[in-house]
């Protein structure tokens, strides 16, 4: 299957540096002074060894929008960012609302080999918010879908939302809600506040997110179901989730790297690379979501990697598409916003970017601590370097990154997916050995 690897001198979480031996895609030994005849040796001196990162929120665009990204190019971007598993959002064409589409995505991911692709199914047919998709068929398909989302659209009808939350209980599923009241955000272009007032761009008010989250946690409590809140972005949303968790409601929440770092001040130049949904918020919101992630109110970081071709960004703000690519930069941005600020340590990073997203998505074989017997999904990260993020750091098909030209710490040196080296010495391996 895969070659034998000896990773030497890696900094394991909560332990001294150690050598890791990988055989047949599994960690077979951890210790010091290890070796195997004929093994490939990876020098990990000074590198932090993390369980392979898991992204609960990725847009891979295939099928249908291959000009923006494909499952192959998107998983190369994932590997470059240290991810070994990505959950693919269903807003493809056709929409991933049937067993056929999710099985196709799974197969394309397996063929690519750069990361495990776990499809997310649409909640409603065509993501139209009107009739439930065949959630059970997707759950029992080969893709074993457990996360359902109409991401990009809010499941706005409260009755449909209630039914979806109830229905997925039969297979331990979860509804991942894109919390956005569509009436309060008609024509919205950016966060509603002092900057939108000045720029004359229609506002996307925080209350449009918070009111849906408040409704949904109450619905989840009422029917006893699991709710996951996508890309939470405001201070008020953090308060609502904190309240809901205190009440014992089964809610989990994610924040994106960009909402941990960037603010709506960046919109002033009308550069559409900074146009995203939910929009970049105020500095107060950035600090609140950081605090929420640090105290466990927010469970995970997820990228919302959203590739777009250049013509959809090189235009007037109002005409531009929402979204940013984020897989390649995620760990570095979280390093800067959470680790360098002292809010999280590397054990926490392993939790919020690997173990918990895998657990929320019920993805077995991912997110496990690096121990003997665990599948060999490993990310080796150099926290000591810093560099200016550039287009050469991007490995997907699109370059709509808000970080181009910005100094970011760290570098993903090696990524190992199921025992196969997908990134070596910071470069994506072009022909996998598998």
């Amino acid at each position: 299957m895969s070659e034998t690897l000896v990773i030497t001198g890696a900094q394991l979480i909560g332990a001294k540096s150690a050598d890791i031996v990988v055989e047949n895609g599994v960690i077979s030994e951890i210790g010091t002074g290890l070796g195997r005849a004929g093994a490939r040796v990876i020098d990990a001196d000074g590198l932090v060894a993390l369980p392979g990162l898991v992204d609960l929120h990725t847009h891979l665009r295939e099928p249908g929008y291959e000009a923006s990204e494909t499952i192959l190019t998107g998983t190369k971007a994932a590997a470059a960012g240290g991810f070994t598993a990505v959950f693919a959002m269903p807003n493809t064409s056709p929409v991933a609302d049937t067993a056929g589409v999710v099985e196709q995505e799974l197969a394309l991911g397996e063929a690519a080999g750069y990361a495990t692709v776990q499809p997310i199914g649409a909640v409603t047919l065509g993501q139209k918010g009107e009739r439930l998709a065949e959630l059970g068929a997707m759950a029992t398909s080969r893709a074993k879908v457990r996360v359902f989302s109409d991401d990009g659209f809010c499941v706005f009808d409260p009755l449909i939302m209630r039914r979806a939350l109830e229905y997925v209980k039969s297979f331990d599923g979860v509804i991942a809600q894109h919390a956005q009241d569509p009436r309060l955000t008609e024509g919205a272009q950016m966060n509603e506040g002092t900057v939108s007032a000045e720029l004359g761009l229609a506002g996307w008010p925080a209350v449009a997110e918070e009111s849906i989250i408040a409704r949904d946690v109450l619905l989840a409590e009422h029917v006893g179901s699991r709710l996951h809140v996508c890309h939470l972005s405001t201070a008020g949303s953090v308060d609502i989730i904190r309240w809901a968790k205190k009440r014992g409601i089964a809610v989990t929440a994610e924040v994106t790297p960009h909402h941990l770092l960037l603010t709506d001040e960046l919109v002033r130049g009308y550069d559409a690379r900074f146009k995203v949904n939910p929009p970049l918020r105020r500095q107060e919101d950035v600090l609140a979501v950081r605090e929420g992630l640090a105290d466990g109110t927010i469970d995970i970081v997820a990228t919302d990697h959203a590739p777009h071709p250049s013509e959809n960004k090189a235009c007037e703000w109002q005409a531009a598409a929402n979204g940013m690519v984020g897989l390649e930069s995620a760990l570095r941005v979280v390093h800067q916003s959470m680790v360098q600020t002292g809010l999280l340590g590397w054990a926490d990073i392993a939790r919020v970017m690997s173990a918990t997203p895998a657990r929320i998505g019920r993805l077995s074989g991912h997110g496990a601590p690096l121990e003997v017997g665990s599948p060999a999904h490993i990310t080796l990260y150099d926290p000591s370097v810093e560099g200016v993020f550039g287009e050469s750091d991007l490995h997907g098909r699109s370059v709509n990154s808000p970080y181009l030209g910005r100094a970011l710490p760290g570098r993903v040196e090696h990524t190992v997916h199921a025992g196969v080296v997908t990134v070596a010495g910071g470069a994506v391996v072009q022909e996998l050995d598998a």
């Binding site: 007032a197 506002g203 013509e311």
Partner: protein, 321 residues
């Protein structure tokens, strides 16, 4: 001056320079032959993605009186409506050899995108972008206030100590935004009057006071009352209940205009909705500067095109003129 994109970033010295040059331009317009040779050989493109005959002909008159060649590109109903991008349009104008592009666009920020994209080397003048800014309108309004106040003694003066009340749909008004910034830069006190639904949700950083009651604002004896145009479709989006209610509460009717102190002026950027935001008594009174604003608009736009196109270009944002 490289571009004129907004008044938010226009400093006092530059603003006064534009106003003073506009005085010179206005002087030439009382001559029998109004045309100056200043911009001979320069090409000015009026790139209008939105219908606005008034603004377009004002810029056209300004450019022609400076002897520039004028190309009117009404992007509405052209290849643009068939999906051509702003980038392709800009590159086409670059290939034609435009020296200045006067752009009117329904999207806020489109002139800045055009100016900073690298698609075109021409100077860019914002002739109104979405609900963002309309800098030449604010400049002509400031010019009009100054002229009425100081007459032939206007040159070099700012608007320190003057009180301007702006009434109407501030939320959707590029005219209001440009006026707030420019009037504050020139030292005027600004009061905004509007229904709470038509003020941006957070204007705490604006150099202006907001009141909801027009009569309360008018009691402060303003030097100028500027009425903004109300678009009737706003009613359908629940910004206010009916035209009649709007007119009663925020319209400048005959009684209100009669109560204004001596010397206060009534302004409107046009086109007016008579009987809605402004009564005919107000619009036609000697206080009204509506037609002076149109005349002064040509002088201001001549001054802006002159500063953009005559002589050497300097840095991005004006600076040394």
């Amino acid at each position: 001056m490289r571009h004129l994109l907004d008044t938010r970033n226009l400093d006092r010295a530059t603003a006064l320079r534009i106003l003073d040059i506009a005085e010179d331009m206005a002087d030439t317009q009382s001559r029998e032959v109004k045309k100056l040779p200043t911009l001979r050989g320069k090409t000015v493109v009026n790139l209008f993605f939105e219908d606005s005959t008034r603004t377009r002909i004002s810029f056209e008159a300004a450019a022609k009186r400076l002897s520039a060649d004028v190309i009117n590109f009404a992007a509405k109903g052209s290849s643009v409506s068939k999906g051509e991008s702003l980038k392709d349009t800009a590159q086409t104008l670059e290939a034609i050899g435009a020296d200045a592009v006067v752009i009117r666009h329904p999207a806020s920020g489109a002139p800045q995108t055009l100016a900073t994209s690298g698609w075109i080397s021409a100077g860019v003048v914002n002739a109104g972008d979405g609900t963002h800014e309309h800098p030449t309108q604010a400049l002509l309004d400031a010019f009009t206030i100054r002229k009425r106040r100081f007459g032939a003694d206007s040159r070099g003066r700012d608007l320190a100590g003057l009180h301007v009340v702006i009434v109407g749909d501030v939320l959707h008004s590029r005219v209001a935004r440009s006026n707030v910034w420019l009037l504050a830069t020139l030292g005027a006190d600004v009061t905004l009057v509007a229904p709470p639904t038509l003020v941006p949700q957070n204007v705490s950083l604006w150099p202006a006071r907001v009141v909801y009651d027009l009569d309360e604002a008018l009691e402060q004896s303003p030097d100028a009352v500027m009425m903004l145009r109300i678009q009737l479709e706003r009613m359908n989006a629940a910004y206010f209940p009916t035209e009649r209610e709007y007119s009663r509460r925020w319209g400048l009717d005959a009684l209100r205009v009669a109560a204004l102190p001596e010397g206060s002026i009534v302004m409107h950027p046009g086109p007016m909705n008579r009987g809605l935001e402004i009564s005919s008594e107000a619009a036609d009174s000697p206080r009204s500067t509506v037609l002076e604003q149109v005349t002064n608009g040509v002088s201001i736009r001549m001054a802006v095109l002159y500063l953009l196109l005559a002589g050497e270009r300097d840095d991005e944002r004006g600076g040394d003129l």
